[in-house]
């Protein structure tokens, strides 16, 4: 179990100035769950990841992992964690085998145990025949797999992943996430993954949405999106000013809540016919209307705009 209570974190900016990256953050991640921490760039995800992985130390607030304080029991906690960073922590001048060997040495693994684990893990990653290859020759997707195998070699109870699909093409991204899905089914392991891609977070058991260092919402993806109803209407315009115009018209005439994101409008819980009638007067201002299930991204836009308005 990961428990975070009233966590604050500040970065020094100038001599006496500091910028708050985490603001009174409270979060709980239950054992053996796949928890996705999402939010836009600059929301505090990487700072929290840096603290959880032991790279940065908090001054106030408390973090415990399996009941152990993260500051006082660093060595014990590091043994329990596997970490996958945004850019693979691999030496490109060394072979896969040499990189795994270094990891084994750093985590105090006996050579026979390392070999056994490699035999087990390389079979499901398609890397078995590539052990002698230099990491520098691998594709981005393959390097990610190597990073994942490396992070799991010492059989951590908790797997931390910081935007692990960053820079991958859609195919490699899907493959990587499928691999994570298989892992959570096969092993008793808590997975905490950060991602700024909301669609990725929807694959998790639980999601936390961060914004400006605070937790805006958390729960299962279904629970969270349910807050916006079962369906929502998306109106796509060609220009931002058209979207602004339509937003004003719709809000004034019907009182319906409308959220805008650039040239796109999102309208929740509305009768399509009413909407069609309204928009028939302004058909030249939009390109298409679609009805779709709300996503986490919709929820994020909903909560942040509501916050700003209030």
């Amino acid at each position: 179990m990961i428990s975070i209570k009233e966590l604050n974190y500040f970065y020094p900016v100038k001599k006496a100035d500091k910028r708050q990256a985490l603001n009174n953050l409270n979060l709980k991640v239950a054992p053996n769950t796949f928890f996705a921490l999402t939010g836009p760039n600059g929301s505090g995800k990487s700072t929290l990841f840096s603290i959880l992985s032991g790279l940065s130390l908090p001054k106030d607030g408390q973090i415990t992992i399996d009941g152990l304080d993260i500051v006082r029991h660093q060595a014990k906690i590091r043994h329990m964690m596997g970490v996958v960073f945004q850019s693979p922590a691999l030496d490109k001048h060394l072979t896969l085998a040499e990189n795994f060997q270094i990891h084994g040495d750093l985590y105090g693994m006996e050579p026979s145990l390392l070999q056994k684990r490699l035999d087990e893990d390389l079979s499901w990653t398609g890397l078995k025949d590539r052990l002698g290859e230099m990491v520098g020759t691998l594709s981005g997707g393959m390097a990610r797999r190597v990073e994942l195998v490396k992070a799991l070699l010492h059989r951590p109870k908790i797997l931390l992943m910081d935007e692990p699909t960053n820079g991958l093409d859609p195919g490699s991204r899907r493959d990587f996430l499928d691999m994570v899905d298989n892992l959570r089914r096969e092993r008793d392991m808590t997975i905490l993954m950060t991602s700024h891609i909301f669609a990725e977070a929807e694959r998790a058991d639980e999601v936390g949405i961060l914004h400006k260092g605070s937790l805006l919402a958390s729960g299962s993806p279904k629970e969270l999106t349910k807050r916006l109803g079962h369906e929502m209407v998306v109106i796509q315009t060609s220009k931002r000013k058209h979207a602004e115009f339509l937003k004003t018209k719709l809000s004034k005439k019907t009182g319906i809540k409308v959220w805008q994101r650039d040239s796109e409008l999102r309208v929740e819980k509305v009768d399509k016919k009413t909407l069609d009638d309204l928009l028939s007067h302004y058909r030249d201002r939009f390109n298409e209307i679609a009805i779709k299930r709300p996503t986490l991204e919709d929820l994020f836009i909903h909560i942040t705009q509501e916050k700003e308005e209030s």
Binding site: Y9, L55, A75, K92, I102, D105, L106
Partner: protein, 257 residues
């Protein structure tokens, strides 16, 4: 922790030997310096007390020192590359104490530097000096202390730098002058008084004495020579001091402001 140190040191060696240009460069550069400067200054080199000593011979200990200096610099510059590529983060989150990173890097760089220096030591029979086996061992001891000092100092600087270009700037204005003002290129006695003082205060000058003196004096004389003993103490304080500073810096974790 020992496995972690060995692993990190081994990594330095594997990377070095796998980068052919680095191997060629690190061996060719000191030899080119030695031969060209030795030949160029040979005719005009005259220093009191060093009559009969050719510049090639005088410059030899300085070249040995240069080898360990460059080895230390090029090995520790990888700290910045490791950080920029994300590799360092992976090591920092491991349960091994952070000092293992310093020891691993320093030992790896020292071994690389010493291997190159050993190659140069093979040229001793071609010079007009006969240090003997014990003398060679004392030279190696001096090289080990110098290598430790330079690598720890390089590590300390690299840990605080964000770019390799910044490190090169520090190398040009700080590390290279330390070597130049060590007596490697010209004797202290030939320098103006202010420079002589600078050279005396430079700990690298003392490290150089630990390499130069055993080439000419038997071990029994060295152990009773106050100049050698002072040089030994100063060089050890410098090398161990740099190592301690590097260890302390690496142990400092990033903390909330």
């Amino acid at each position: 922790m020992v496995n972690g140190v060995i692993s990190m040191a081994k990594r330095e060696l594997v990377r070095f030997f796998r980068q052919g240009h680095r191997v060629v460069g690190s061996i060719a550069q000191p030899i080119i310096f030695w031969l060209f400067l030795g030949s160029g200054f040979g005719a005009s080199f005259q220093a009191p007390g060093l009559e009969g000593v050719s510049y090639t011979e005088y410059f030899f200990p300085g070249i040995l020192l240069m080898v360990v200096l460059f080895s230390g610099i090029f090995s520790t510059i990888t700290v910045i590359e490791d950080r920029n590529q994300g590799l360092l983060q992976g090591i920092l989150v491991a349960p091994v104490p952070r000092i293992a990173i310093v020891f691993g890097k320093v030992i790896g760089a020292m071994v690389i530097g010493l291997l190159q220096a050993f190659l140069l030591l093979l040229t001793i029979p071609f010079l007009a000096i006969e240090p003997g086996f014990a003398g060679i061992l004392m030279v190696i001891l001096g090289l080990i202390i110098a290598a430790l000092g330079f690598t720890a100092l390089g590590f300390l600087i690299a840990w605080n730098m964000e770019s390799t270009s910044g490190f090169h700037a520090i190398m040009s204005v700080f590390l290279l002058p330390l070597w130049m003002l060590s007596g490697a290129m010209f004797p202290m006695t030939q320098a103006p008084v202010w420079l002589e003082w600078l050279m005396f205060l430079n700990p690298v000058s003392h490290a150089l004495l630990l390499i130069r003196m055993p080439l000419y004096q038997p071990i029994s004389e060295l152990l009773t020579s106050s100049q050698y003993i002072i040089a030994f103490i100063v060089a050890i304080i410098w090398a161990v001091g740099c190592l301690m500073l590097a260890l302390s810096r690496v142990n400092r974790q990033q903390c909330s402001a």
